[in-house]
C-alpha cells in the first residue's frame, strides 16, 4: 500500500508540475506577447505619422534632406513616450538624416533585434517611389524591465500553485487508495468458507441459491463447497 502510494506520487509529480509550470508560462507568454504587440502598434503609428508629415512636405516640393522641422517633431515624439529609444529618418542609402538622438545623424542604419524592438514606415513621394524610411525603436531593456514585475508576480503564485497542486494530488492518491483499500479489506466469508470482499458475498450467495434450487429440481445432491 505504502509502496503503491509512493509510486503513484512519484508518477504524478512530473505531470502536475509540468501542467502548472506550462500553464504559468502560457499565461506569462500570452500577456508578454500582447504587451509587445501593443508597443509594436504604438511604434508603427508613430512611424506612420512621421512618414505622413514628411510626405506632405515632399508633396509641396521640400526634399527629404531639407525637411529641417523633422528634427523637432522626432524629438517631441520621442519625449512623449518613454519606451521609445530613438526615432530616425533614413534616406534611400540607409544613412540617418534626422534622429531624435542627434549623435546618430550621419550613421548607417543597423538593426539589432536583441537590443531593440523596431517598426518602420516608408516615406513615398507623389510617384509612389520610396524616398526614405522612418524607423522607430523601443529599448528591449526598458520593455524587459516593465515585464519583470509581471514575471515575478506570476512566478511567485506559480510556485505556491505547484506546491498546492502537488500536495493536493498526493491527498487525492491517498484518499483514492484508502477508498480502494477499504473496499478490498472489508471481507466476509462465503458459503464455501473463503474470505472474500464483502461486496461479492451476496453475488456468490445468489448463484449458490439458484444452483441449489436447480439441484433440488434435478434431484441431485448439492455439490460440496470445495472445488474437486
Amino acid at each position: 500500500m505504502r509502496r503503491l502510494a509512493f509510486v503513484l506520487m512519484v508518477a504524478l509529480t512530473p505531470v502536475v508540475l509540468a501542467a502548472v509550470a506550462l500553464g504559468a508560462y502560457l499565461n506569462y507568454g500570452s500577456i508578454r506577447q500582447s504587451y509587445l504587440d501593443m508597443v509594436g502598434d504604438r511604434l508603427e503609428t508613430v512611424a506612420r505619422r512621421v512618414a505622413s508629415d514628411s510626405e506632405s512636405a515632399l508633396s509641396i516640393g521640400i526634399p527629404l534632406a531639407g525637411q529641417a522641422t523633422l528634427s523637432r517633431l522626432l524629438q517631441r515624439e520621442r519625449e512623449a513616450d518613454l519606451v521609445l529609444s530613438s526615432i530616425d529618418v533614413v534616406d534611400a542609402t540607409d544613412t540617418i538624416l534626422f534622429s531624435s538622438d542627434k549623435s546618430r545623424i550621419g550613421m548607417k542604419e543597423t538593426t539589432d533585434p536583441e537590443l531593440t524592438l523596431d517598426r518602420s514606415a516608408a516615406i513615398q513621394n507623389a510617384f509612389e517611389t520610396t524616398e526614405g524610411t522612418v524607423v522607430v525603436r523601443a529599448s528591449r531593456a526598458v520593455l524587459d524591465s516593465e515585464l519583470q514585475e509581471l514575471a515575478d508576480g506570476i512566478e511567485h503564485v506559480a510556485i505556491y500553485a505547484m506546491l498546492g497542486a502537488l500536495f493536493g494530488s498526493f491527498a487525492a492518491v491517498l484518499l483514492g487508495l484508502r477508498v480502494l483499500w477499504a473496499r478490498v479489506s472489508n471481507t466476509a466469508e462465503t458459503a464455501g468458507g473463503q474470505i472474500v470482499p464483502k461486496e461479492t458475498v451476496a453475488t456468490f450467495r445468489m448463484v449458490d441459491d439458484a444452483h441449489r434450487s436447480i439441484a433440488r429440481q434435478l434431484g441431485v445432491a448439492e455439490a460440496p463447497k470445495e472445488v474437486s
Binding site: N27, Y35, T45, A161, G168, S169, A172, G176, V207, L218
Partner: protein, 669 residues
C-alpha cells in the same frame, strides 16, 4: 478499479483547475497593471495621430463640419486597433462631429457625454495656430485584460485535458508494480462480480493477504463454475428441459461457462512506454514541416514543396521498409530490450534534429528517429503478441493501439504550444526527454527477456505481397482503401495543412489544436465502431462510407475561412477513418481467408501493414509533387478524389463479388 480512477482523476482535475485558476487570477492582475497603462499610451498615440490629421485639414481652411470622410478615417483607426471601443471628434462645446464605434451602444451619440459613460477615455486636442478647435477622444473598454486571459483559456483547457490523459496513463503504469497489480487484480474481480460477471481471471502471482484474497475469489469463482458445469451435465443426461432453460438463463446472467478475453494485467506495463514514445513523435506534427522548410534550399529538378517533403517521405519509408524485418530481429534480441534500444535511438534522433545545422543533418537524424520508432512499434507489438493467445490478442493489440491514439490526441496541441512559445528546437528536446522517460518506464516495468534461441518468425516475403495483391478484392481493399487513407492522413493532414496554415499566419499552437481533432475523433469512435461494425456485419459499408467521407473532407478548406476549414476537414477525416479503420482491419482477415487461404494471418496482416505504411510515405511525396507542379488546389482535390474513388471501386467490387456480405451476414454454410 474504475471508482478509484474516477476519484483520483476528479481530485487531480480539481487541484489542477484551482492551481491554474490562481495563476490566471494573478495574471489578470499583472496584465491590468502592465497592459492598461500601455493601452492608454497606445490610445494617446492613436488620438494624437488622428488629431494631427484633423488639424492639418482645418489648417487648410476647412471647418470641422466641412471635413469629408472623417468617419472613415476613424473607422480605419478602429479596424487597426480593435481593442478600442470608439474614436470620436468633438467640438469644444462637446458636440460630436465624427464617430466610429466597435460597440453598438455608442452609435448615433450626438454629444461627448453620451459616449464617455463608464469607459476610460484618452483625449488629444486638435490645435491650429495655438488654439484648440476640437478634440479627438478614444474610448477604452475596462475588461481588456480579462478578454486577453479569456482567449488564453483555450490553451489552458487543452493543457488540462492532456494532463488528465497523461495522469490516467501513469496511473495505469503505476499499477503494474507487483503489489499494485494484486490490488488492481482484486478490484477488477470485485467489480466483475458486482456486475454478475463470473468469467475467470488470469491468475496473479504474489504473497501476503492481498494475494490470499485474490486466490480465495478465484477459488470461489472456480467452485461456482464447476457446480454450473456439473448441473448442466446432469440436466443434459436427464434431458430436463426446464432445468436446462434455468441453467441457460443463469449462464446469460452470470457468464458461468464463457471465457474472459481481457489481456493479462502484466500487458498494461507496455502501454506507458508506448504512450510516452509516440507522444514524443506526435509532439512534432504541428511544426515539423515548417521546421524542415526553414532548412529547405532549392534542388535542381525538385520543387521546394518536394524538397520539404523529403525528410518526411524518407522517415515514413524507413518505418515501412524496416518493420517486416524488425519482427524477427526484435524476437531474437528480446522484445523489451529492443524497445529500450528503439527509445534510445529515437532520443538521439530527436536531440540531433534539435541541433541540426542543415538539411543533410536533419535528414540523417530524422532517419535515426525513424529506425527507433519502427523498432519500438514492432517490439511493443511483438511483446503483446508473445503474451496473448487467439482469444485475447485483439484486446491486447487494442491496448497498444489505444495508447497510440491517446498520444495522437495529446501530442499535437502540446507540441504546438511548446514550439510556439519555446521554439521548435526546444520542442524536439522535450520529445527526446519523453523518449528517455519511455526508456525508464520500459526498464522498470517490462521484465527482462531472454533472446530467442530457436527459430524466429520469418519476415515478410515479396511473394506473399504478390499473392495478396493478385486478388482483385484484396487489391481494391489494400491499394484502394488502406493505402489512400494513410496517404490522406500524412500527405494532407500532417504535411500540407501545417505548411499552409503557417503560411496563412497561424502559429503552431493553433495548428496543433487543429491536428488534435484527428486523434480526438479516433479515440472516441474506434471503440464504438469496433462493436457496431461487428454487430451489424456491415464492415464493407463502414469502409466505403469512411473513404467517401474522408475524400469529401478536403472540400472544407475551400468552403470555410482558415483555420476553421482545416479544423473541420481534419475532424471529418478523423471521423471517417474512425469509422473505417477497425472494419477495414477485420475485412483483411476475412477476405484474406477467403481469397488467399494458404497465407497465414500473420503474413496477411504483414502485407496489410506494409501497404498501409507505404501510403504514409507515398502520401506526402504525391501531395508535394502535385502541389509543386500544378498548385495546392490540384493537390488537395486530387487527394480527395483518390481516396473517394478507391472506396467506390471497392464498393463496386464488393457488390459484384458479394464481398459486401461478411461472415456475420452470410447464411450458415
Amino acid at each position: 478499479m474504475r471508482r478509484f480512477d474516477v476519484i483520483i482523476l476528479g481530485l487531480v482535475t480539481a487541484v489542477l483547475l484551482a492551481a491554474l485558476g490562481a495563476i490566471s487570477w494573478q495574471s489578470i492582475r499583472g496584465a491590468e497593471n502592465l497592459l492598461l497603462p500601455s493601452l492608454d499610451r497606445k490610445a494617446d498615440v492613436v488620438a494624437r495621430s488622428l488629431s494631427g490629421l484633423v488639424g492639418e485639414a482645418v489648417g487648410y481652411g476647412m471647418t470641422l463640419d466641412e471635413i469629408v470622410g472623417a468617419d472613415e478615417v476613424l473607422a480605419e483607426a478602429l479596424t487597426e486597433n480593435p481593442e478600442f471601443a470608439y474614436a470620436a471628434i468633438a467640438k469644444p462645446d462637446g458636440r460630436v462631429v465624427a464617430l466610429s464605434s466597435n460597440q453598438q451602444d455608442h452609435d448615433g451619440a450626438a454629444v461627448l457625454s453620451d459616449l464617455i459613460g463608464e469607459l476610460r477615455t484618452v483625449t488629444a486636442p486638435v490645435e491650429v495656430d495655438g488654439r484648440t478647435v476640437a478634440s479627438v477622444v478614444v474610448g477604452i473598454p475596462n475588461a481588456v485584460a480579462e478578454t486577453l486571459i479569456r482567449r488564453l483559456w483555450l490553451d489552458i483547457a487543452v493543457l488540462l485535458l492532456v494532463s488528465l490523459l497523461i495522469t490516467l496513463e501513469l496511473l495505469s503504469f503505476a499499477f503494474t508494480i507487483s503489489s499494485a497489480s494484486l490490488l488492481r487484480g482484486l478490484a477488477r474481480r470485485l467489480n466483475a462480480l458486482v456486475k454478475h460477471d463470473f468469467r475467470p481471471h488470469a491468475p496473479l502471482a504474489g504473497t501476503g493477504p492481498l494475494a490470499e484474497e485474490v486466490a480465495n475469489v478465484d477459488h470461489e469463482i472456480d467452485r461456482v463454475r464447476a457446480e454450473h458445469a456439473r448441473l448442466t451435465r446432469v440436466a443434459e443426461a436427464k434431458n430436463d428441459e426446464e432445468a436446462l432453460a434455468d441453467l441457460e438463463l443463469m449462464e446469460r446472467r452470470y457468464h458461468l461457462s464463457t471465457e474472459r478475453t481481457d489481456p493479462p494485467v502484466s500487458l498494461i506495463a507496455v502501454r506507458a512506454p508506448v504512450f510516452l514514445f509516440f507522444f514524443a513523435e506526435e509532439l512534432t506534427r504541428p511544426f515539423l514541416p515548417n521546421y524542415i522548410k526553414s532548412f529547405a534550399e532549392p534542388i535542381a529538378g525538385l520543387s521546394i514543396e518536394m524538397v520539404i517533403s523529403l525528410p518526411i517521405v524518407l522517415f515514413m519509408a524507413i518505418v515501412a521498409i524496416a518493420q517486416p524485418s524488425l519482427n524477427g530481429i526484435t524476437e531474437r534480441y528480446g522484445r523489451a530490450r529492443s524497445l529500450r534500444v528503439g527509445a534510445i535511438l529515437a532520443l538521439l534522433g530527436f536531440v540531433g534534429t534539435a541541433y541540426s545545422a542543415d538539411m543533410l543533418q536533419l535528414i540523417l537524424f530524422r532517419s535515426i528517429t525513424a529506425v527507433g520508432l519502427a523498432t519500438v512499434f514492432v517490439a511493443a507489438q511483438g511483446y503483446i503478441v508473445d503474451r496473448t493467445g487467439s482469444v485475447n490478442r485483439a484486446r491486447g493489440i487494442g491496448l497498444f493501439v489505444s495508447g497510440i491514439m491517446v498520444a495522437m490526441l495529446c501530442g499535437p496541441p502540446i507540441g504546438g504550444i511548446l514550439a510556439a512559445r519555446l521554439g521548435p528546437s526546444a520542442a524536439f528536446l522535450v520529445s527526446a526527454g519523453l523518449c528517455f522517460a519511455a526508456y525508464v518506464c520500459a526498464s522498470v516495468a517490462l521484465p527482462g527477456d531472454k533472446p530467442a534461441s530457436g527459430s524466429v518468425a520469418p519476415g515478410l516475403r515479396l511473394s506473399q505481397v504478390g499473392a495478396v495483391l493478385r486478388r482483385p478484392a484484396m487489391l481494391l481493399l489494400l491499394a484502394g482503401c488502406a493505402l489512400p487513407a494513410k496517404m490522406m492522413l500524412i500527405g494532407f493532414c500532417f504535411y500540407y495543412l501545417p505548411l499552409s496554415l503557417a503560411s496563412a499566419g497561424f502559429d503552431s499552437a493553433t495548428i496543433g489544436r487543429v491536428l488534435m481533432l484527428y486523434g480526438l475523433a479516433m479515440v472516441i469512435l474506434i471503440p464504438l465502431v469496433s462493436r457496431l461494425s461487428d454487430d451489424a456485419g456491415k464492415r464493407t459499408l463502414y469502409v466505403v462510407i469512411g473513404a467517401i467521407l474522408s475524400g469529401a473532407a478536403v472540400l472544407h478548406v475551400f468552403v470555410w475561412p482558415e483555420p476553421w476549414g482545416a479544423a473541420i476537414a481534419v475532424l471529418q477525416i478523423g471521423i471517417a477513418q474512425g469509422l473505417s479503420t477497425t472494419p477495414q482491419s477485420a475485412l483483411v482477415g476475412e477476405l484474406g481467408s477467403r481469397y488467399v487461404p494458404d497465407l497465414s494471418q500473420g503474413g496477411l496482416y504483414g502485407v496489410f501493414r506494409l501497404i498501409e505504411r507505404a501510403g504514409t510515405a507515398i502520401g506526402p511525396a504525391a501531395m508535394a509533387f502535385v502541389w509543386g507542379a500544378y498548385g495546392a488546389t490540384a493537390a488537395i482535390v486530387g487527394m480527395g478524389l483518390l481516396v473517394a474513388a478507391g472506396g467506390l471501386l471497392f464498393a463496386i467490387s464488393a457488390i459484384v463479388t458479394g464481398g459486401g456480405r461478411t461472415e456475420a451476414s452470410m447464411p450458415a454454410r
